[in-house]
Symmetry: D2
Subunit: 479 residues, 4 copies
């Protein structure tokens, strides 16, 4: 079956061995990109006079047909998408099919196809991620004033607002999304023309080939160009970064929607119940979402282990690396989609959230006021507040015990308990935050609005790149 085996190895290829080593199953993901690569190769051979334009036209037509109607089931002895394409092209034009491997190898072609598909999927994923970010930011805008506790060590730490919490998640996801553009610089380099491993004497213009394939530049050294998958590792790391943000967000949803925390309510349409315990409402979307970081880390480990052992140029091991990337993208794409759909119908339980911010929660800011108003050293103020916090927790705080505590720090009767408790009113506290990036409602509003703009701009840039790639593809597949 294989066009390559004849001569050196004989026709026979054990069917189990062929199925075991064939990449045809996961090559579907790069079929279109590989067609593109081959079309450009033939076009340039035609320009150099190594192929007639009629032959070219026949082959391009066959490639277009293949892309529109890819076969359901392919003989594994064709080995991979390259074997399939050469077969299809050769049936249309023996000359054109036969020249596909002139100055081009499966090694550079597959590296190019993976990069083309990776950049496309990265851009599409980023667009999906921006949907989630936008949903978080819009929700945040609704809740810039909604008092909500900030936790550290899963202990109530300070009064904040729900808008601030959501903006925190959005900021992190947006930082990751913007990083996609940096990553593209690494992915979007052309290995085409590196041939099998050392370059070739065939008349290949690498710069022009790169241009027609939408690459930003050429990965020079041919050995490096055909063998390196560092862009894939870095992309998996990038995906793991966003999966971690997703996981942290989902973890908060699970915790904050528990009866005990009771701070948010997840929408019924995104929850399930128990088959046995009818009172239950389970945060299943968030539970599944938080497992995705494990998926992506697992894929990264797989890719890493395969890559790290290899000497020299291309080995078939490399073929097993690529599907890990597609899996990871799939997992995240679905997760961003369903989360972006769920976030708008999250409900905050504002009253409970405010309650969780009552004293002694704002004690750090009470200490700050002791510093400001009485010139107390902060550590002293902290100790004083700690004693008051303990009295509060043990239900022993009253005016006398308060004054007694103050006296220990030379502040006897400088302040009433009532005044002190007013200091700790959550609304007062969040309004008093004065630093850049604080949970002061005005600051959150500013950040959210600025980030909504960044979302819009990044979305535009991603869409534009995708459109440009699509145009190049179309012009490559036609004369």
């Amino acid at each position: 079956v294989s066009v390559f085996r004849r001569g050196r190895l004989g026709e026979r290829f054990d069917l189990d061995a062929a199925a075991y080593t064939s990449s045809l199953d996961f090559d579907r993901e790069i079929l279109r990109a590989t067609i593109w690569v081959n079309a450009v190769h033939l076009k340039l051979l035609c320009e150099k006079g190594a192929l007639g334009s009629e032959e070219l036209e026949k082959a391009l037509k066959a490639l277009r047909r293949l892309e529109e109607n890819p076969p359901e089931k392919i003989d594994p002895r064709l080995e991979d998408v390259h074997g399939l394409i050469e077969k299809v092209a050769s049936e249309a034009s023996e000359k054109a099919g036969g020249m596909l491997a002139y100055g081009k190898s499966r090694n550079d072609a597959v590296a190019a196809a993976i990069r083309i598909r990776a950049r496309e999927r990265l851009l599409q994923l980023t667009l999906q991620q921006l949907q989630l970010i936008e949903a978080l930011l819009k929700k945040a805008l609704e809740h810039v004033e909604t008092i909500f506790p900030a936790y550290t060590h899963l202990q109530r730490a300070a009064p904040a607002t729900f808008g601030f919490i959501l903006h925190g998640h959005a900021q992190r996801l947006l930082r990751n999304a913007e990083n996609a553009e940096t990553l593209l610089n690494r992915i979007n380099l052309s290995p085409m023309g590196a041939a099998a491993v050392v370059g070739t004497s065939a008349p290949i213009d690498r710069l022009r080939e790169a241009e027609l394939l939408g690459f930003d530049g050429v990965l020079e050294n041919a050995l490096d160009a055909t063998t390196s998958r560092d862009f894939l590792l870095m992309m998996l790391a990038h995906l793991f970064d966003s999966a971690t943000s997703l996981s942290n967000l989902a973890e908060e949803m699970v915790v904050y929607s528990s009866s005990e925390f009771g701070l948010i309510e997840l929408p019924d349409e995104f929850s399930s119940t128990s088959s046995v315990m009818p009172q239950k409402k389970n945060p299943v979307v968030a539970e599944i979402a938080r497992t995705k970081s494990a998926e992506v880390l697992g894929e990264l480990v797989k890719a890493a282990v395969i890559l790290t052992r290899l000497p020299g140029g291309y080995s078939l091991d490399l073929q097993q690396v690529t599907p890990k990337l597609w899996n990871a993208v799939d997992e995240l794409e679905r997760s961003f989609k369903v989360m972006a759909k769920m976030v708008p119908s999250l409900r905050v339980r504002a009253e409970e959230a405010r309650k969780a911010c009552l004293p002694p929660v704002g004690m750090a800011e009470a200490a700050n006021l002791l510093v400001k108003n009485f010139g107390l050293n902060f550590r002293k103020a902290h100790q004083l507040c700690a004693l008051i916090a303990r009295l509060m927790l043990e239900n022993e705080l009253d005016e006398p015990s308060f004054q007694k505590t103050l006296s220990g720090f030379g502040l006897g009767n400088k302040l009433t308990l009532r005044e002190f408790l007013e200091w700790m009113e959550p609304e007062r506290i969040v309004a008093s935050y004065s630093t850049l990036g604080s949970s002061n409602p005005r600051e959150v509003e500013r950040m959210v609005n600025r980030d909504l703009k960044r979302v819009g701009e990044l979305r535009m840039r991603c869409s534009e790149r995708l459109t440009k790639f699509e145009e190049l593809y179309c012009s490559a597949l036609n004369l």
Copy 2:
């Protein structure tokens, strides 16, 4: 759609959320086991008088039909195989279907089904693994006398035989295969009757349920029984162990079949060539096989990360853990199969292999003879031999330089160079190995024959267990 949601959450379940959280895709793997679990549950309810035998019969019939003709496409809002089974059973008998969750939850049922399927797949995988081990042992038996170098640090270390090398791989894989039985003790414990998380007041006889499902015992504490997936981690670790053996074997195949080593020849039907470089013969099966340890490690990491974060009882995260196990088993099963098929047609290039054992390779045994024959301290003998090795490598070894070196150690003229070189004849050396487990042909023969017997015995035990499970299943599905 779901039979569970009504009442608490309302009927609506967002379709994306349902698809995202449904396990129906990978539940196919446990469909049969879950049917078994449900059939036994209904039977015992019938014995306790909680269900009439006609209703039972209707439900069993429906379950048998489901197993024979599982639906192609299932509405994800059914959530999982349990939802599907209750729906199918309820259509046959409302009473029987409605009692499926009486004293039984998805949590204990799925834990039981996973264990049932895991033990079955482990036994089947072990049988496949024994095929490979047997192939290695038989090949070893052909080559107990074939001189072949042993390497350390990828440097020729000592004369050995090809049979010894292959037996080394077989011994390691067999140790792992025998470990499967130990692992079964951990897997084959029944969580049935633990209900959702704390046990139940329903009339459930856990011991009898365990017996009918082929379990060796009961996992007592109900929280532990429903939540623990340690057996799954340990099984993944077991699989990684065999994947590592596979990888090491495959690595040797790649290295030893290179032109440079040229010690073995892989069969053409299991090799491919280059689409560009016609002289090449690529060891593709071994390349793919050695990536499988990365696959299994990645699956282990995925499972590990999901499991490690969870508090309390069942969370939906656990549902994402199980498919990792099936993937890992799939990968290894295919690998053992194709390797077992390839090994018999491996060809040793005996002449080259013997050449690789010529002096200075056997120098350690020359040193041993200096100790034995002349009472030299071994370290001295080692130093003497090192000097001779250097002379040899620099092409400066002749009788005068040899004698001069001997003299430095007080052995001048005690030995001719010719005698010394005869000491290093590979056949003499391997025959001189006298320790248990050495590469002496007689010792290798003994070990191989003994291990062939162990293979046969383990195969018998695995088959018997599989048969017993099958019988229990059949009797459970019928009245």
Copy 3:
């Protein structure tokens, strides 16, 4: 410096290269075991007449001294503990030192030493783990009657007892601890006498050597014996299993001690506060403890990746694998110790815990009673209870709405709301659980007492083995 280099490579060894490749830093962990291995080797050579008993005595004395006063800083050009030992022994007796490598290589010696140390550390770790298990069981015994909610999906699932929860953790940790004995069968096999890779012609009695070193058997094939580290992978997997149990336990401590859950209180002496927010009490021990599964998984990944790539016999890569095991053991040993110390002073907040079990939490058992008392189909009972749960959550449950709901299921006026609510009293529910392994106080009591006995027995067996090893060591180091 090195006794090995002379002759073949010349004396010079680049100091950076020596430091980079030397294992002396982490060989401290196996110093004692390696001394043991060398002492036995010399003794047996003496028995065979290859070494005089005076020389033996000198060497043993030097080895004893080395063990008692290991040097602080060692020249890295000695390479490893074997180089050090040969140097020390040779200084005491040139003959004895010089015979250390006769029929024994660093490859089999280090494999033996690692196994000796691994079995010792595993036993010691298990003893430490038993301390924690015992602490959990004793605490459980105090709380067999203390009502405490069981969670699934971090949602209140069913009334249970605190004793039951703790026993769940103990059962899982104990299953792991008992597995240590199975693992020992894999670890405790002797590679001694395998020499460098293929066995030897030197007069080595592998069975006797194994016996004197406390091994249970011999790992036969010499290639496998010197190269395999599967025992180490399986031990890391075993450690990861216990680390996961630890992590799940710690996660519950963090969650249950939050203000919102408020179910347990961690002792002040095991908590810290904030340097800024004086009201806080942070569960720092549990936070650190739950990171240990990440540590162990990381070590496992390191070992796995190194092992999976190697062909043939010993490579120096293997030297880097071993420290991962010691690190993992260290991490867990310290964790078990501090947790075992903290558990006894855990305080349950019994009132809050009971509150968390009030209706609608016990609804599954109310459904069971509807089945038992009125012959309702469970699914119907579940739906009925779901409607009641919803009324409850929406504060709309009263006698009329209750009866209206009952009517919908043909049970109008068969039951008063008051009776129904009495069904859901937590104490009644837990007392009604009737299955093996349930959270019924009597059942928990039974399990805890049985497991305390198992703890005692396992502790005894571990201690006995450690003592036996110690005795063998002492007799080996003396004539």
Copy 4:
């Protein structure tokens, strides 16, 4: 002991718990950076009038002393470097020490200190990496003409040059090194002023604080600023990328220096031998170097697993993440150093390397000439060459068999065997490569020279940044 505990928790802190949770051991790495952060904080408080300049001076002096003479052993109950610094500062000036936590928390301070130290270590590591790259490039320049085979699938693929191979490694490592600058953009953002989690009302100017600490900008949202460790994950991924390049390079060293390949010779001073087999020369530096990717991957997994589970703001788990980064940097720094030292004394065995390029190795280029000279379709030419390759391998190639093969393709007598073999002369082939990035000596020369320039420029930029940071540090620690 702790300045923080008093009031809320009481003084007692269990010593084991303190040791278990303290970060003092690994805080040494960030001592200097934390001092810097605290000094700037005090300076700005002084500027705002919240601290007198005399008090400031006393505190700065104490901090300088601490940096110069850090204590050997610190009580773990001080918890961490922040506790230590506050203690030291308070002893010098109670007021200044007491104000350290005013508007600054351990959470933002430690995040800042880690970023400061991470950027420094990244720059230093990059400088070390550039040493290795330069060594590779210089070696490549010596060998632009040295014929050397390129491998794919560990099979000889095509004639290349040793310079080309080395440049491939250098190009990949240099791409990674240049990525360090991109990564710095992510690392070098200031969390200072985010306080514990939500910002503060204290008079903190985040922009100015960032400037004085050498940060390029501010990480705004305070929750994100204190909790995010994405920069650390991305840095570990970056390190893993370079570790993989290192591993691939080391793998080639091991393989190419084996007797069988015999293409390169590693210097004696960087090799070791066997304690038993005196003829051996083991590539120990390369063996150790290739394990480093496992180390870094393990560290990445550790960090990833810890980070992925956490909700909300700072948890003590985060403290365990940081040491993973330092470990990974340490491992690579030492590796780059020793490899950079070893590369210059690598010796190519030019004759053997050229032999490995003789026919049929250059067959792809023979096929290209058949296309160019006779207008053959490439696939036909490939088949023809495959037949000739087979004849060659079976020692049956002579003029008659050659012509017979040609005839089958319509080329009978168009070419003599001698001419054909001249086509395959390695020197002719490498000179014929005409693509960008090929192994044509002129092209390699061009790339190497260009990359040497890039190395110089990047080195300059890294050094300049380090110098600037040092200056800022010094001015911060002085009035």
